[in-house]
Protein backbone atom coordinates (compact mmCIF):
# COMPACT_ATOMS: atom_id res chain seq x y z
CA UNK A 1 0.00 0.00 0.00
CA UNK A 2 1.17 3.55 -0.72
CA UNK A 3 2.09 5.80 2.16
CA UNK A 4 -0.52 7.66 4.23
CA UNK A 5 0.48 10.91 5.90
CA UNK A 6 -1.45 13.30 8.10
CA UNK A 7 -0.23 16.84 8.73
CA UNK A 8 0.15 18.32 11.30
CA UNK A 9 1.29 15.70 13.75
CA UNK A 10 0.67 16.54 16.52
CA UNK A 11 -2.09 19.15 16.45
CA UNK A 12 -1.36 22.24 18.54
CA UNK A 13 -4.47 24.40 18.33
CA UNK A 14 -7.28 21.85 18.44
CA UNK A 15 -8.00 18.69 20.41
CA UNK A 16 -7.49 16.35 17.44
CA UNK A 17 -5.31 13.23 17.59
CA UNK A 18 -3.24 12.75 14.41
CA UNK A 19 -3.14 8.99 15.08
CA UNK A 20 -6.92 8.81 15.14
CA UNK A 21 -7.19 10.84 11.92
CA UNK A 22 -4.60 8.64 10.22
CA UNK A 23 -6.42 5.47 11.30
CA UNK A 24 -9.66 6.85 9.90
CA UNK A 25 -7.95 7.74 6.63
CA UNK A 26 -6.51 4.24 6.35
CA UNK A 27 -9.83 2.58 7.16
CA UNK A 28 -11.83 4.71 4.73
CA UNK A 29 -9.25 4.39 1.94
CA UNK A 30 -9.61 0.63 2.29
CA UNK A 31 -13.40 0.75 2.37
CA UNK A 32 -13.53 2.87 -0.77
CA UNK A 33 -11.06 0.67 -2.62
CA UNK A 34 -8.51 3.40 -3.21
CA UNK A 35 -5.57 2.19 -5.34
CA UNK A 36 -3.06 0.61 -3.01
CA UNK A 37 -0.03 1.86 -4.90
CA UNK A 38 -0.86 5.57 -4.63
CA UNK A 39 0.40 7.76 -1.76
CA UNK A 40 -2.22 9.77 0.12
CA UNK A 41 -1.36 13.00 1.97
CA UNK A 42 -4.00 14.70 4.14
CA UNK A 43 -3.30 18.21 5.41
CA UNK A 44 -5.59 19.81 7.97
CA UNK A 45 -5.35 23.55 8.49
CA UNK A 46 -6.03 23.48 12.21
CA UNK A 47 -6.13 27.29 12.51
CA UNK A 48 -9.37 27.58 10.53
CA UNK A 49 -12.38 26.79 12.70
CA UNK A 50 -15.97 25.82 12.10
CA UNK A 51 -18.07 27.25 10.39
CA UNK A 52 -15.38 27.90 7.79
CA UNK A 53 -15.57 24.62 5.92
CA UNK A 54 -13.38 23.89 2.92
CA UNK A 55 -11.95 20.75 1.35
CA UNK A 56 -9.75 20.07 -1.68
CA UNK A 57 -8.94 16.78 -3.37
CA UNK A 58 -6.36 16.80 -6.17
CA UNK A 59 -3.88 14.48 -7.82
CA UNK A 60 -0.41 16.02 -7.68
CA UNK A 61 2.54 14.19 -9.27
CA UNK A 62 0.59 10.96 -9.15
CA UNK A 63 -0.19 11.30 -5.45
CA UNK A 64 -3.53 11.99 -3.78
CA UNK A 65 -3.35 15.40 -2.16
CA UNK A 66 -6.18 16.08 0.31
CA UNK A 67 -6.60 19.32 2.22
CA UNK A 68 -9.29 20.62 4.57
CA UNK A 69 -9.91 23.23 7.22
CA UNK A 70 -9.87 22.10 10.83
CA UNK A 71 -13.51 23.19 11.03
CA UNK A 72 -14.46 20.20 8.87
CA UNK A 73 -13.52 17.79 11.68
CA UNK A 74 -14.65 20.03 14.54
CA UNK A 75 -17.67 19.23 16.70
CA UNK A 76 -20.36 21.76 15.80
CA UNK A 77 -21.37 22.36 19.40
CA UNK A 78 -17.99 22.18 21.17
CA UNK A 79 -15.17 24.55 20.34
CA UNK A 80 -11.94 22.80 19.21
CA UNK A 81 -13.28 19.29 19.91
CA UNK A 82 -12.95 16.45 17.38
CA UNK A 83 -16.04 14.95 15.75
CA UNK A 84 -15.45 11.48 14.34
CA UNK A 85 -18.76 11.57 12.51
CA UNK A 86 -17.86 14.73 10.60
CA UNK A 87 -14.30 13.55 10.00
CA UNK A 88 -15.59 10.30 8.47
CA UNK A 89 -17.94 12.14 6.12
CA UNK A 90 -15.38 14.73 5.04
CA UNK A 91 -12.52 12.25 4.52
CA UNK A 92 -14.81 9.92 2.57
CA UNK A 93 -15.99 12.80 0.40
CA UNK A 94 -12.43 13.89 -0.36
CA UNK A 95 -11.39 10.31 -1.17
CA UNK A 96 -14.38 9.80 -3.47
CA UNK A 97 -13.50 12.91 -5.44
CA UNK A 98 -9.84 11.89 -5.60
CA UNK A 99 -10.93 8.48 -6.90
CA UNK A 100 -13.08 10.23 -9.53
CA UNK A 101 -10.00 12.12 -10.67
CA UNK A 102 -7.90 8.95 -10.91
CA UNK A 103 -10.26 6.71 -12.76
CA UNK A 104 -13.87 7.81 -12.45
CA UNK A 105 -14.49 9.85 -15.57
CA UNK A 106 -13.19 13.08 -14.03
CA UNK A 107 -9.67 12.83 -15.39
CA UNK A 108 -10.16 16.05 -17.39
CA UNK A 109 -11.57 18.10 -14.53
CA UNK A 110 -9.50 21.13 -13.54
CA UNK A 111 -7.85 21.21 -10.14
CA UNK A 112 -10.05 22.21 -7.21
CA UNK A 113 -8.51 25.70 -7.19
CA UNK A 114 -9.72 26.23 -10.76
CA UNK A 115 -13.22 24.81 -10.43
CA UNK A 116 -16.14 27.20 -10.91
CA UNK A 117 -18.24 27.27 -7.69
CA UNK A 118 -21.19 25.85 -9.63
CA UNK A 119 -19.09 22.94 -10.88
CA UNK A 120 -17.82 22.28 -7.37
CA UNK A 121 -21.38 22.40 -5.94
CA UNK A 122 -22.59 19.91 -8.58
CA UNK A 123 -19.67 17.54 -7.96
CA UNK A 124 -20.33 17.82 -4.20
CA UNK A 125 -24.00 16.90 -4.71
CA UNK A 126 -22.94 13.80 -6.67
CA UNK A 127 -20.45 12.97 -3.90
CA UNK A 128 -23.03 13.48 -1.13
CA UNK A 129 -25.44 11.06 -2.78
CA UNK A 130 -22.72 8.41 -2.86
CA UNK A 131 -21.89 9.09 0.79
CA UNK A 132 -25.51 8.26 1.66
CA UNK A 133 -25.20 5.02 -0.31
CA UNK A 134 -22.13 4.20 1.78
CA UNK A 135 -24.17 4.57 4.95
CA UNK A 136 -23.00 7.99 6.12
CA UNK A 137 -25.45 10.39 7.73
CA UNK A 138 -25.67 13.22 5.24
CA UNK A 139 -28.17 16.04 5.64
CA UNK A 140 -30.14 16.25 2.39
CA UNK A 141 -31.53 19.73 3.04
CA UNK A 142 -28.09 21.08 3.97
CA UNK A 143 -26.67 19.81 0.70
CA UNK A 144 -29.53 21.12 -1.42
CA UNK A 145 -29.18 24.57 0.18
CA UNK A 146 -25.45 24.55 -0.67
CA UNK A 147 -26.35 23.59 -4.25
CA UNK A 148 -29.07 26.24 -4.52
CA UNK A 149 -26.66 29.01 -3.54
CA UNK A 150 -24.67 28.29 -6.70
CA UNK A 151 -27.39 26.98 -9.04
CA UNK A 152 -30.36 29.08 -7.99
CA UNK A 153 -33.51 28.62 -5.93
CA UNK A 154 -35.52 27.18 -8.80
CA UNK A 155 -37.44 23.99 -9.57
CA UNK A 156 -35.01 23.24 -12.41
CA UNK A 157 -32.07 23.60 -10.02
CA UNK A 158 -33.71 21.32 -7.45
CA UNK A 159 -34.42 18.71 -10.12
CA UNK A 160 -30.77 18.83 -11.20
CA UNK A 161 -29.70 18.35 -7.60
CA UNK A 162 -31.93 15.30 -7.17
CA UNK A 163 -30.51 13.76 -10.34
CA UNK A 164 -26.95 14.21 -9.08
CA UNK A 165 -27.89 12.95 -5.59
CA UNK A 166 -29.31 9.70 -6.94
CA UNK A 167 -27.30 9.11 -10.09
CA UNK A 168 -24.68 6.83 -8.52
CA UNK A 169 -22.20 7.30 -11.35
CA UNK A 170 -21.46 10.24 -13.62
CA UNK A 171 -18.64 12.02 -15.41
CA UNK A 172 -17.06 15.44 -15.59
CA UNK A 173 -18.73 16.33 -18.93
CA UNK A 174 -22.10 15.47 -17.36
CA UNK A 175 -21.37 17.80 -14.43
CA UNK A 176 -20.59 20.57 -16.90
CA UNK A 177 -23.88 19.91 -18.69
CA UNK A 178 -25.77 20.32 -15.40
CA UNK A 179 -24.06 23.68 -14.87
CA UNK A 180 -25.13 24.83 -18.31
CA UNK A 181 -28.71 23.63 -17.76
CA UNK A 182 -29.17 25.47 -14.43
CA UNK A 183 -27.41 28.62 -15.63
CA UNK A 184 -24.59 28.26 -13.08
CA UNK A 185 -22.04 28.04 -15.89
CA UNK A 186 -23.11 31.51 -17.05
CA UNK A 187 -22.44 33.14 -13.72
CA UNK A 188 -19.24 35.17 -13.57
CA UNK A 189 -16.34 33.34 -12.00
CA UNK A 190 -15.55 34.86 -8.59
CA UNK A 191 -12.62 37.25 -8.45
CA UNK A 192 -11.32 35.42 -5.39
CA UNK A 193 -9.10 32.39 -6.05
CA UNK A 194 -10.80 29.04 -5.55
CA UNK A 195 -8.11 28.00 -3.09
CA UNK A 196 -8.22 31.19 -1.04
CA UNK A 197 -8.71 29.31 2.24
CA UNK A 198 -5.71 27.10 1.52
CA UNK A 199 -3.53 30.03 0.48
CA UNK A 200 -4.64 32.03 3.50
CA UNK A 201 -3.94 35.23 1.61
CA UNK A 202 -5.42 36.91 -1.45
Amino acid sequence: MGSLTVTPDPFDLVAFDAGVVRALLEELAGTLGMPTDVDIALTIDEAVPHPILGTMADIVDGKIDLWCTGGCFEARDRTRAFSERHARVEISGMLLRARDRLSGGFEDAPSDADLHPGERAAWDAYTAGRLVDLGHRVHHQKRIYDFRLQHGFTDAGDAAFERLWTIGSTTWPAIQEVCVATGAAGRPKPKLPGDLLRRGRH
Binding site: E46, D77, Q141, Y145, L196, R201
Partner: protein, 273 residues
Protein backbone atom coordinates in the same frame (compact mmCIF):
# COMPACT_ATOMS: atom_id res chain seq x y z
CA UNK B 1 -41.84 31.80 40.51
CA UNK B 2 -38.37 33.19 40.95
CA UNK B 3 -37.78 36.82 40.01
CA UNK B 4 -34.62 37.98 38.21
CA UNK B 5 -33.55 34.68 36.71
CA UNK B 6 -29.77 34.54 36.11
CA UNK B 7 -28.29 33.48 32.79
CA UNK B 8 -27.10 30.19 34.27
CA UNK B 9 -30.67 29.09 35.05
CA UNK B 10 -32.19 29.43 31.60
CA UNK B 11 -34.22 26.32 30.81
CA UNK B 12 -33.23 24.30 27.74
CA UNK B 13 -34.00 20.75 26.66
CA UNK B 14 -31.40 18.09 25.86
CA UNK B 15 -30.92 19.30 22.30
CA UNK B 16 -29.10 22.45 23.40
CA UNK B 17 -25.48 22.79 24.45
CA UNK B 18 -24.16 25.98 25.99
CA UNK B 19 -20.95 27.60 24.68
CA UNK B 20 -18.72 29.40 27.13
CA UNK B 21 -17.96 32.88 25.82
CA UNK B 22 -14.45 32.63 27.32
CA UNK B 23 -13.74 29.55 25.16
CA UNK B 24 -14.37 31.70 22.11
CA UNK B 25 -12.48 34.74 23.35
CA UNK B 26 -9.41 32.74 24.38
CA UNK B 27 -9.47 30.31 21.43
CA UNK B 28 -5.77 30.04 20.40
CA UNK B 29 -6.81 29.98 16.74
CA UNK B 30 -7.93 33.62 16.92
CA UNK B 31 -4.36 34.88 16.74
CA UNK B 32 -3.47 32.67 13.76
CA UNK B 33 -6.68 33.66 11.97
CA UNK B 34 -6.17 37.40 12.35
CA UNK B 35 -3.54 37.37 9.60
CA UNK B 36 -5.57 35.24 7.21
CA UNK B 37 -7.76 36.24 4.28
CA UNK B 38 -10.98 34.25 4.60
CA UNK B 39 -12.87 36.07 1.86
CA UNK B 40 -15.30 38.99 2.03
CA UNK B 41 -16.46 39.88 5.53
CA UNK B 42 -20.03 40.53 4.42
CA UNK B 43 -22.33 37.65 3.58
CA UNK B 44 -22.02 36.98 -0.14
CA UNK B 45 -22.25 33.97 -2.40
CA UNK B 46 -18.58 34.14 -3.42
CA UNK B 47 -17.48 34.00 0.21
CA UNK B 48 -15.73 30.72 1.06
CA UNK B 49 -17.92 28.41 3.15
CA UNK B 50 -20.84 30.81 2.74
CA UNK B 51 -23.47 28.10 3.25
CA UNK B 52 -22.19 26.86 6.61
CA UNK B 53 -21.40 30.39 7.77
CA UNK B 54 -24.96 31.51 7.03
CA UNK B 55 -26.42 28.39 8.69
CA UNK B 56 -24.34 28.97 11.80
CA UNK B 57 -25.41 32.63 11.91
CA UNK B 58 -29.04 31.60 11.44
CA UNK B 59 -28.77 29.27 14.43
CA UNK B 60 -27.30 32.16 16.41
CA UNK B 61 -30.32 34.26 15.41
CA UNK B 62 -32.65 31.44 16.48
CA UNK B 63 -31.18 31.17 20.00
CA UNK B 64 -31.04 34.98 20.14
CA UNK B 65 -34.79 35.06 19.54
CA UNK B 66 -35.34 32.60 22.38
CA UNK B 67 -33.27 34.82 24.67
CA UNK B 68 -35.10 37.97 23.53
CA UNK B 69 -38.37 36.20 24.35
CA UNK B 70 -37.02 35.30 27.76
CA UNK B 71 -35.77 38.84 28.35
CA UNK B 72 -39.06 40.51 27.43
CA UNK B 73 -41.01 37.87 29.36
CA UNK B 74 -38.95 38.41 32.50
CA UNK B 75 -39.65 42.15 32.32
CA UNK B 76 -43.40 41.40 32.45
CA UNK B 77 -42.89 39.47 35.67
CA UNK B 78 -39.81 40.73 37.51
CA UNK B 79 -41.08 44.21 38.37
CA UNK B 80 -44.13 45.49 40.23
CA UNK B 81 -46.16 48.37 38.84
CA UNK B 82 -44.28 51.02 40.79
CA UNK B 83 -41.12 49.97 38.95
CA UNK B 84 -42.63 49.20 35.55
CA UNK B 85 -46.04 50.62 34.50
CA UNK B 86 -48.73 48.20 33.35
CA UNK B 87 -48.66 49.70 29.84
CA UNK B 88 -44.93 48.90 29.61
CA UNK B 89 -45.66 45.30 30.60
CA UNK B 90 -48.35 45.15 27.92
CA UNK B 91 -45.78 46.26 25.37
CA UNK B 92 -43.38 43.59 26.64
CA UNK B 93 -46.17 40.99 26.41
CA UNK B 94 -46.80 42.02 22.81
CA UNK B 95 -43.07 41.73 22.18
CA UNK B 96 -43.13 38.19 23.62
CA UNK B 97 -45.77 37.35 21.04
CA UNK B 98 -43.52 38.69 18.28
CA UNK B 99 -40.43 36.92 19.62
CA UNK B 100 -42.31 33.62 19.83
CA UNK B 101 -43.24 34.01 16.19
CA UNK B 102 -39.61 34.85 15.37
CA UNK B 103 -38.46 31.68 17.12
CA UNK B 104 -40.86 29.70 14.94
CA UNK B 105 -39.77 31.52 11.79
CA UNK B 106 -36.11 30.99 12.70
CA UNK B 107 -36.76 27.25 13.15
CA UNK B 108 -38.31 27.12 9.70
CA UNK B 109 -35.45 29.13 8.19
CA UNK B 110 -32.88 26.85 9.83
CA UNK B 111 -34.75 23.91 8.32
CA UNK B 112 -34.74 25.65 4.93
CA UNK B 113 -30.97 26.17 5.19
CA UNK B 114 -30.38 22.60 6.36
CA UNK B 115 -29.62 22.73 10.07
CA UNK B 116 -31.25 21.30 13.16
CA UNK B 117 -32.20 22.78 16.51
CA UNK B 118 -29.18 22.58 18.81
CA UNK B 119 -26.80 21.61 16.02
CA UNK B 120 -24.51 24.46 17.04
CA UNK B 121 -23.64 25.63 20.53
CA UNK B 122 -25.58 28.45 22.20
CA UNK B 123 -23.98 31.54 23.73
CA UNK B 124 -26.22 33.29 26.24
CA UNK B 125 -24.50 36.65 26.38
CA UNK B 126 -27.53 38.27 24.71
CA UNK B 127 -29.75 37.28 27.64
CA UNK B 128 -27.13 38.69 30.03
CA UNK B 129 -28.25 42.15 28.86
CA UNK B 130 -31.72 41.29 30.18
CA UNK B 131 -30.56 40.58 33.72
CA UNK B 132 -30.24 44.16 34.94
CA UNK B 133 -32.41 44.68 38.04
CA UNK B 134 -33.31 48.25 36.98
CA UNK B 135 -36.20 48.16 34.44
CA UNK B 136 -34.93 51.24 32.59
CA UNK B 137 -31.46 49.76 32.20
CA UNK B 138 -32.99 46.47 31.15
CA UNK B 139 -35.09 48.25 28.52
CA UNK B 140 -31.92 49.84 27.15
CA UNK B 141 -30.10 46.50 27.22
CA UNK B 142 -32.88 44.50 25.59
CA UNK B 143 -34.95 46.87 23.47
CA UNK B 144 -32.30 49.28 22.28
CA UNK B 145 -29.09 47.21 22.31
CA UNK B 146 -30.20 43.59 21.69
CA UNK B 147 -33.12 44.46 19.43
CA UNK B 148 -30.96 47.08 17.73
CA UNK B 149 -28.44 44.36 16.95
CA UNK B 150 -31.34 42.30 15.59
CA UNK B 151 -32.19 45.16 13.18
CA UNK B 152 -28.59 45.13 11.90
CA UNK B 153 -28.46 41.32 11.61
CA UNK B 154 -31.85 40.96 9.89
CA UNK B 155 -31.09 43.75 7.48
CA UNK B 156 -27.77 42.08 6.56
CA UNK B 157 -29.40 38.65 6.20
CA UNK B 158 -32.17 40.14 4.06
CA UNK B 159 -29.51 41.64 1.78
CA UNK B 160 -27.85 38.21 1.60
CA UNK B 161 -31.19 36.62 0.68
CA UNK B 162 -31.68 39.21 -2.07
CA UNK B 163 -28.17 38.67 -3.43
CA UNK B 164 -28.67 34.90 -3.65
CA UNK B 165 -32.25 35.29 -4.89
CA UNK B 166 -33.47 33.16 -2.00
CA UNK B 167 -37.13 34.17 -1.73
CA UNK B 168 -37.73 32.39 1.58
CA UNK B 169 -34.85 34.04 3.45
CA UNK B 170 -35.57 37.48 1.98
CA UNK B 171 -39.28 37.37 2.87
CA UNK B 172 -38.81 36.07 6.42
CA UNK B 173 -36.02 38.49 7.31
CA UNK B 174 -38.05 41.41 5.99
CA UNK B 175 -41.03 40.55 8.21
CA UNK B 176 -38.92 40.02 11.31
CA UNK B 177 -37.03 43.23 10.61
CA UNK B 178 -40.30 45.18 10.69
CA UNK B 179 -41.08 43.77 14.15
CA UNK B 180 -37.62 44.62 15.47
CA UNK B 181 -38.06 48.24 14.47
CA UNK B 182 -41.20 48.43 16.64
CA UNK B 183 -39.35 46.76 19.55
CA UNK B 184 -36.53 49.27 19.42
CA UNK B 185 -39.07 52.08 19.11
CA UNK B 186 -40.82 50.82 22.25
CA UNK B 187 -37.50 50.90 24.06
CA UNK B 188 -36.75 54.43 22.86
CA UNK B 189 -40.23 55.67 23.84
CA UNK B 190 -40.25 54.04 27.29
CA UNK B 191 -36.73 55.24 28.05
CA UNK B 192 -37.87 58.82 27.47
CA UNK B 193 -41.12 58.41 29.43
CA UNK B 194 -39.63 56.65 32.46
CA UNK B 195 -36.73 59.07 32.79
CA UNK B 196 -38.61 62.24 31.88
CA UNK B 197 -38.00 63.68 35.36
CA UNK B 198 -34.74 61.90 36.11
CA UNK B 199 -32.13 62.77 33.53
CA UNK B 200 -29.33 61.24 35.61
CA UNK B 201 -31.08 57.88 35.45
CA UNK B 202 -31.51 58.30 31.68
CA UNK B 203 -27.80 58.99 31.31
CA UNK B 204 -26.93 55.92 33.43
CA UNK B 205 -29.22 53.81 31.27
CA UNK B 206 -27.64 55.12 28.07
CA UNK B 207 -24.21 54.40 29.57
CA UNK B 208 -25.32 50.83 30.19
CA UNK B 209 -26.54 50.62 26.61
CA UNK B 210 -23.14 51.83 25.34
CA UNK B 211 -21.45 49.06 27.32
CA UNK B 212 -23.84 46.44 25.94
CA UNK B 213 -23.52 47.82 22.40
CA UNK B 214 -19.75 47.47 22.63
CA UNK B 215 -20.07 43.84 23.71
CA UNK B 216 -22.61 43.20 20.94
CA UNK B 217 -20.26 44.68 18.33
CA UNK B 218 -18.15 41.55 18.93
CA UNK B 219 -14.77 42.99 18.09
CA UNK B 220 -15.60 43.98 14.52
CA UNK B 221 -18.51 41.67 13.75
CA UNK B 222 -20.72 44.75 13.42
CA UNK B 223 -19.79 48.11 11.91
CA UNK B 224 -20.04 50.28 8.83
CA UNK B 225 -17.04 49.19 6.76
CA UNK B 226 -16.56 46.30 4.33
CA UNK B 227 -14.61 44.54 7.07
CA UNK B 228 -17.79 44.05 9.10
CA UNK B 229 -20.05 41.05 8.34
CA UNK B 230 -23.03 42.80 9.91
CA UNK B 231 -23.74 46.37 8.89
CA UNK B 232 -25.18 49.07 11.14
CA UNK B 233 -28.51 49.94 9.56
CA UNK B 234 -29.04 53.66 10.05
CA UNK B 235 -32.33 53.98 8.17
CA UNK B 236 -34.19 51.41 10.28
CA UNK B 237 -32.60 52.67 13.49
CA UNK B 238 -33.86 56.17 12.69
CA UNK B 239 -37.36 54.74 12.22
CA UNK B 240 -36.94 53.15 15.65
CA UNK B 241 -36.21 56.42 17.40
CA UNK B 242 -32.42 56.62 17.17
CA UNK B 243 -31.12 60.10 16.39
CA UNK B 244 -28.31 60.71 13.88
CA UNK B 245 -26.00 61.40 16.79
CA UNK B 246 -26.89 58.08 18.40
CA UNK B 247 -26.17 56.24 15.15
CA UNK B 248 -22.82 58.06 14.89
CA UNK B 249 -22.03 57.11 18.47
CA UNK B 250 -22.89 53.47 17.84
CA UNK B 251 -20.60 53.46 14.79
CA UNK B 252 -17.79 54.84 16.97
CA UNK B 253 -18.46 52.22 19.66
CA UNK B 254 -18.30 49.47 17.01
CA UNK B 255 -15.03 50.89 15.64
CA UNK B 256 -13.59 50.97 19.15
CA UNK B 257 -14.65 47.34 19.72
CA UNK B 258 -12.84 46.36 16.52
CA UNK B 259 -9.74 48.36 17.52
CA UNK B 260 -9.73 46.68 20.94
CA UNK B 261 -9.91 43.25 19.29
CA UNK B 262 -7.01 44.12 16.98
CA UNK B 263 -4.99 45.30 19.95
CA UNK B 264 -5.66 42.03 21.78
CA UNK B 265 -4.37 40.09 18.76
CA UNK B 266 -1.28 42.32 18.53
CA UNK B 267 -0.57 41.73 22.21
CA UNK B 268 -1.00 37.98 21.73
CA UNK B 269 1.42 38.07 18.76
CA UNK B 270 3.91 40.05 20.83
CA UNK B 271 3.71 37.61 23.70
CA UNK B 272 4.36 34.67 21.32
CA UNK B 273 7.43 36.22 19.67
Amino acid sequence: MKRHLPESELARDERFRRNKIEDQIFDPRNVALADRDLGPAQMSVDRPAVAERSRSLMHGIFVGEIQALEGAGRTCFDFDETEAPFALKLDMARQCWDESRHVEISCKLAEHMGSDIGEYGESTFLYAAACNPDPVMRLCGVNRALEGLAIDVFSSMKAFGESTQDPVLTFCEDWMLADEVTHVKMGSDWLRRLTEHDLDRRERALDFQRTVDKVFSLGGFRGESEENPIQITRRFRELAGFSNEECDELAQIAEQAAADARQMVALAHASQS
